[in-house]
Amino acid sequence: MREINTSQITAAIRDLCIKANTHLGEDVLAAFHKAIELEVSPTGKDILEKLVENARIAQEKGIPICQDTGFAVVFVELGQEVHLVGGDLKEAINEGVRQGYQEGYLRKSVCHPFTRKNTGDNTPAVIHIDVVPGDRIRLIVAPKGGGSENMSRVTMLTPAVGIQGVKDFVVQRIKESGANPCPPTIVGVGIGGTFETAALLAKRALLRPLGSQNPNAELASLEAELYEKINALGIGPQGLGGRITSLAVHVAMMESHIASLPVAVNVQCHAARHKEMVI
């Protein structure tokens, strides 16, 4: 067993919250540059260039890329040979979020669903823990903004509609979302499992680096087709018209129940923020 003190996890989460919100990934920047080349709308091109500029300012000044610094979604891959000492894991993560959002001048966006009273420190975080082989911990912080999350949906399709039904649902969702989720977006699609698995698959699909190939040929082909269909909608950057509505479509799939065909679409705005660390 390898001992890890949870204070190390708090420090890591604090740093990841700040870094994720101020440093846009190289893969996203590369996708912006590719989009600038492909975009035919002058307004769209201008917006994409401003997004590159925005990322540069955020990194240089250490301020958030977007004012909506999100709900702190934390993925933990916990090695089964790790022995955690020093306190409760979830509390250590929440403390890291608390410190990161305070010290990093990040916006606190978490509130009571009915009274809308803000919790004041952006906790609780949304925490997903997986136990995996090994003696390390991998932590991923993926702050998720409300604008794009609000456009996300889960549906339970009738199996008879098949793959065409899945395609129609995804494209229709992006069409109806219009300018709301801050296009150009990244579209995470989760297929199969149960109701909640589909949503989690869609969210995890968003973590895959942009420009990477889906190892499953069937899904890679589905991604390519959805990308074409979505970018034919004409929504464009910020919904003001153009060819680049989405930078990428990422699909993840698992087996489903004989009665079910669950599908989830998790829409990610262009501020596709996530950072990770291995302890």
């Binding site: 925005n54 000044k61 977007c66 916006r107 604008g147 034919a232 929504i235 018209g241 705005c269």
Partner: protein, 184 residues
């Protein structure tokens, strides 16, 4: 692209009548922040016949909840939030003389009708470009509802704050026109 039009609130009917969907505009001077919770409070005050904490006649409301300012800065990141959540409240404020709204995303028909009837404009700022937009904000001052944190109403002094006209007083909608032009 054509040159940007320069505007300084308060805006008159004539100011907004000269704007067309697709126009690029640079706003300088005073604008106010307001989003979900602040709008609800403003409408509650109107319904109970009480005065509002700001004079909204001729003004522009920016749908934004900035991130906290670092020392030496007026605000943190300050890009627009999605506007449809304010649709339930906007027509009442437009009727009372609000001339402009800045946000992102399409508006409902009732808001569009109110903009045509009472002459008001809906502008889009670049969603998610919060660090860039903040560079045009020179000063931020709390006006009301401090308890709402990022949702409090603030008076912003802006210089050449860049926006695009989405809905004009003729009833045009840049989102609809843009899709028509580029859909394959």
């Amino acid at each position: 692209m054509s040159d940007a039009i320069r505007l300084t609130p308060p805006l008159s009917d004539e100011d907004v009548e000269g704007l067309q969907a697709g126009d690029r505009v640079l706003i300088s001077g005073t604008i106010y922040t307001g989003r979900d919770a602040a709008h609800k409070r403003l409408i509650d005050l109107i319904h109970s016949g009480e005065p509002l904490p700001i004079e909204i006649k001729g003004q522009i409301i920016y749908y934004v909840g900035p991130s906290p300012a670092k020392p030496g800065m007026a605000v943190g990141a300050a890009g627009p939030t999605t506007s449809y959540r304010m649709d339930a409240y906007a027509p009442e404020l437009i009727r009372l003389g609000l001339k402009g709204m800045i946000g992102k995303g399409a508006r409902g028909q009732a808001v569009k009708n109110a903009m045509v009837k009472h002459k008001a404009i809906y502008f889009a700022a670049i969603g998610g470009a919060g660090a860039l937009m903040a560079q045009a904000i020179k000063k931020a001052e709390l006006v009301a509802y401090e308890d709402l944190g990022p949702e409090a109403i603030r008076r912003l002094e802006v210089e050449e704050f860049p926006v695009i006209v989405v809905n004009d007083v003729q009833g045009n909608d840049l989102y609809e026109e843009g899709i028509k032009e580029y859909a394959i």
